[in-house]
């Protein structure tokens, strides 16, 4: 199994969630994060007061899937999250050692 971490633009959350549901993925963890890569923050000067934006709000989505699902999930996220403009985000794939469902104690694929 693999863990997929996707950093996306905030307004794309609903679309990505929708796409993942269609693929049968029910569970995910969402966090509000900040970051930037090549899309830099910048200074705005407004009415003589500087208002600095080096803090670009993004959304991080974390899901765990079986290895055979990785390609379709990545494709789906890219399609849903892409705007073509800078700052669209990135997807990371991390190998996962084990997963356990707390309520039942199941482990492995059935815990996902």
């Amino acid at each position: 199994m693999k863990k997929i971490e996707a950093i996306i633009k905030p307004f794309k959350l609903d679309e990505v969630k929708e796409t993942l549901h269609k693929l049968g993925i029910q569970g995910m963890t969402i966090s509000e994060v900040q970051g930037f890569g090549r899309q830099k923050g910048h200074k705005e000067i407004y009415r003589g007061a500087e208002y600095e934006v080096d803090f670009l709000p993004k959304i991080k989505i974390e899901i765990v899937v079986t290895s055979d699902m990785v390609d379709s999930v990545v494709e789906a996220i890219v399609a849903a999250a892409k705007t073509g403009k800078i700052g669209d985000g990135k997807i990371f794939i991390i190998p996962l050692e084990e997963a356990i469902r707390i309520r039942t104690g199941e482990s492995g694929d059935s815990a996902i």
Binding site: P10, F11, E32, H42, A49, V53, F55, P57, G84
Partner: protein, 819 residues
């Protein structure tokens, strides 16, 4: 006993029964204890058990009391014979073995032990040590002031740790303010400060009215019963009424009616009862202070109108003041807010009785007082008092709808009514911390009123903003606000969620998104008001609702919208009207047609017939039809519309074609639709009068894009027409401005130069070489001057911030035009 049998019993009876059962159990265990009968010892109940208020999972607090000393094996024997059997029965017993001396020493520094001993009760054993202890405790209740201070310290810590049971979503029935602990504190104050035995004596002594007392009693019973049943349901010592237990508890308290929303009823009732307990608790605390203070220095009082002010507290001049002059009710609150005072306990009672008997006037004086309160610096205490005493809902009857209403989700900490007041208070704080934005608001009264009323429509589950907006407007008019201000109130309530929704769910890097939002706002003042209301609403909701993350998005939307309203197209109010009119006509003439891809700037700059024609033509673009050319002859020139799919360098190609065809451009409006189509309209002169070779444009385009024709080469060989050659060739005077402040979405590059053949092509070719994308352009040429404004972004879709790139742009344009 089955749960069903609880229906008809009062809370106190249930708790007492359980306590009696515990007594029986302990006594029987005592009977079985054979040794140590010669030493007098007793089992004494303290704390809740002492009060005979036991819930199924409450602690059993026991004191094993001996007279003089504790014999060696005594403790072990007690444990074995009495305590262990109780634990075996799953009773949570907390015990201590002490001599009378131990006890008296310990209570000096243990506040909890002291207070739990206030409810001391003999269970079984030898009465002698109990009586001795009892008398000793009575004697020691001298340090009243210290007791009061310590008690209050505990009260505020409880409020901090457990919140106010009268308002929070998941009230803690025991420790929250207005819960059972408040009741206990009233009993302790009663005993220690007022030296009375029973709470009922407070009425006789004149501190509480008979009605207040019976209200208190009923409240106590209700909360106790709720706690009792909660313990039964959860099988566990839990005093916080979590959301997941609320429904089942409510079904127990209101049995038999499956269709009722018993959860909401129960929570409203619980909140109401807790508020009564807290209110009366605080009144009694005030009286306690007064009683202790009687002995201290003389009080200075002063008169303000019909009021006596003593030590920062407002009292009515006489008991009859309120009855004789009902206007003084609202005047009292207004004075409270104005001068940061509180109301005397007696005044609170008078006001409550007055409000309950329906005598709160909503005449001009009262309304003026109310608005004064809204406008004051610290309206909080006055408004909250008005809420608790039932006065607010008399001034604004619609407030009854949201009284004690909970939102049923975990985002909101408080009930709707308190949340609304909190929103107003957060606004007041923002006035101090964000003066620059507040300056943009001319009259703050509609803003404050909107804060108070923004959730007034919450009772309807869908679209509460719409519903509430209508109500709020009517309330505003009733309170004497002008028509314009009332319209503001309507706008603010209707849109109070829009800021958050747009900022978090729409693409703020898209000009059209921000434009539509700015248009909806209408002007900078409304934008500022809505922004402030949204921030205050979030701050009053919970800590998680206003994080720096959320703030970043909201501020981005705010500043970008402000720019459009102050510097952009919407700066001129005529433009907004113009746009509205055109939209109306378009939606009328093209019903069902989706118009989402039309940029606002395009609609503004074009007339309706033209737009409709373009829409029709654009529908014909397909894989076979790459480009559509539409020509309209005008007086002495032609209007040439070209529609095709946008691509890098498109403008450079088109202007190149026009140049080699000798079609002179006078003006041009260049747009990129949101669906990716380039829609360009040129006003041109043709080389001869009845020029018809328009199809050649499409041919040329095809040839150039398929590389059959080398545009650069062809252009370099182009020469002006003979008819134009008598024009003097002027040296180029080029002025280039690169502007990053006028738009948040594009860099505006202005190029002024002397007109010549292929000017636009050379400029746009230079842009294309630098990977710049022309999104929009306005061209205007006279005989002597060509003025061109290009809205560009770089190849990543961002504005051009890089200084070296800006330099390269300038050099490239100058170079291109000087060839």
């Amino acid at each position: 006993m089955k749960l069903a049998d609880y229906d008809y019993m009062s809370g106190k009876k249930l708790a007492r029964n359980l306590s009696n059962l515990a007594d029986q159990k302990i006594c029987s265990l005592y009977q079985g204890h054979t040794s140590s009968r010669d030493i007098p010892w007793a089992i004494i109940a303290i704390g809740g058990y002492g009060r005979q208020e036991l819930c199924p999972h409450s602690d059993l607090d026991i004191l094993v009391l001996l007279d003089k000393k504790i014999p060696g094996q005594f403790t072990k024997e007690i444990l074995a014979s009495t305590i262990y059997p109780l634990w075996d029965d799953h009773l949570s017993v907390s015990y201590s073995v002490r001599t009378i001396k131990n006890v008296l020493k310990d209570i000096r520094h243990d506040f909890f032990l002291k207070t739990s001993l206030l409810d001391v009760r003999f269970v079984c054993g030898s009465k002698a040590p109990y009586t001795k202890l009892f008398k000793a405790i009575q004697k020691r209740q001298k340090e009243k002031k210290e007791f009061l201070q310590t008690l209050l310290a505990h009260t505020s810590r409880r409020e901090h740790d457990f919140g106010d049971a009268g308002y929070v979503l998941e009230p803690n029935l025991k420790e929250g303010r207005g819960g059972l602990r408040d009741m206990q504190e009233i009993a302790w104050l009663n005993k220690i400060i007022f030296e009375l035995n029973d709470i009922s004596e407070l009425a006789q002594a004149g501190f509480l009215s008979a009605i207040d007392l019976s209200d208190l009693d009923a409240a106590h019973d209700y909360i106790l019963k709720a706690r009792f049943i909660l313990h039964c349901l959860v099988q566990h010592k839990t005093d916080s009424l979590f959301i997941e237990h609320q429904e089942s508890l409510s079904r127990q308290l209101y049995p038999g009616e499956a269709s009722r929303d018993t959860t909401r009823e129960m929570m409203q009732e619980l909140h109401s009862k807790a508020r009564i307990v807290k209110s009366l608790h605080d009144i009694i605390v005030s009286y306690a202070f007064e009683k202790l203070d009687n002995k201290s220095s003389h009080k200075t009082s002063r008169m303000i109108g019909e009021f006596v002010i003593t030590k920062n507290q407002i009292g009515f001049a006489h008991l009859k003041t309120l009855r004789d002059n009902p206007d003084t009710l609202m005047q009292a609150f207004s004075l409270m807010a104005e001068k940061n005072l509180s109301l005397k306990p007696m005044s609170l009672q008078l006001v409550r009785e007055h409000a309950e008997s329906g005598n709160v006037r909503t005449n001009e004086t009262s309304i003026r007082c109310f608005l004064k309160i809204l406008r004051s610096d610290q309206p909080g205490p006055a408004l909250i008092q008005m809420l608790e005493l039932g006065v607010l809902e008399k001034i604004i009857p619609e407030f009854t709808l949201i009284k004690g209403l909970t939102m049923g989700n975990s985002f909101h900490r408080f009930t709707v009514d308190l949340h609304s007041i909190q929103t107003l208070l957060e606004l007041k704080k923002l006035e101090l911390s964000q003066p620059e934005i507040f300056e943009m608001v001319k009259d703050t009264t509609p803003l404050y009123l909107s804060a108070l009323l923004h959730d007034i429509g919450k009772i309807s589950t869908t679209n509460h903003e719409e519903h509430g907006a209508e109500m709020a407007k009517n309330i505003a008019l009733r309170l004497g606000l002008s028509e314009q201000d009332s319209v503001h109130v309507n706008f603010l309530v209707r849109n109070h969620l829009q800021f958050s929704i747009t900022a978090h769910r729409r693409d703020l890097s898209e000009e059209s998104v921000v434009f539509l939002f700015a248009q909806r706002m209408g002007d900078p003042q409304r934008l500022a008001m809505l922004h402030l209301l949204s921030v205050a609403d979030a701050l009053a909701t919970s800590e998680a609702a206003w994080t720096p993350w959320k703030q970043a998005l909201v501020l981005e939307l705010f500043y970008k919208s402000l720019n459009i309203l102050e510097k952009g197209i919407l700066k001129d109010p005529q433009n907004a009207i113009n746009l509205d009119q055109k939209w109306k006509i378009l939606t009328d003439r093209l019903p069902g047609q989706s118009l989402w891809s039309l940029p606002q700037a395009y609609i503004l700059a074009s007339d309706v017939d033209e737009i409709i024609k373009h829409i029709e033509l654009s529908a014909t673009i397909s894989d076979q039809v790459e480009m559509v050319v539409d020509v309209t002859p005008k007086n002495d020139h032609f209007s040439l519309g070209i529609i095709t799919r946008d691509r890098p360098g498109l403008f450079s190609i088109l202007t190149g074609i026009l140049a080699i065809r000798h079609l002179e451009i006078h003006t041009a409006r260049i747009f990129t639709w949101l669906n990716g189509l380039a829609v360009d309209v040129f006003e041109i002169s043709a080389p001869w009068h009845d020029y018809t070779e328009w199809d050649k444009i499409v041919d040329d385009f095809r040839k150039i894009t398929s590389r059959e024709l080398d545009l650069a080469d062809t252009i370099s060989h182009a020469r002006p027409l003979v008819s134009n050659q008598n024009r003097k060739i002027q040296a180029q005077r080029i002025r280039i401005t690169i502007d990053n402040t006028s738009s948040d979405f594009f860099t505006l590059i202005e190029v002024h130069a002397y007109p010549r053949l292929g000017l636009l092509h050379h400029i746009s070719h230079a842009f294309a070489e630098l990977d710049l994308n022309i999104h929009r352009a306005f061209i205007s040429s006279t005989q002597y001057r060509s003025a061109n404004t290009f809205y560009v972004v770089d190849n990543l879709g961002e504005k051009i911030e890089d200084e070296s790139l800006k330099e390269r742009i300038r050099s490239a344009v100058v170079l291109a035009l000087n060839e």
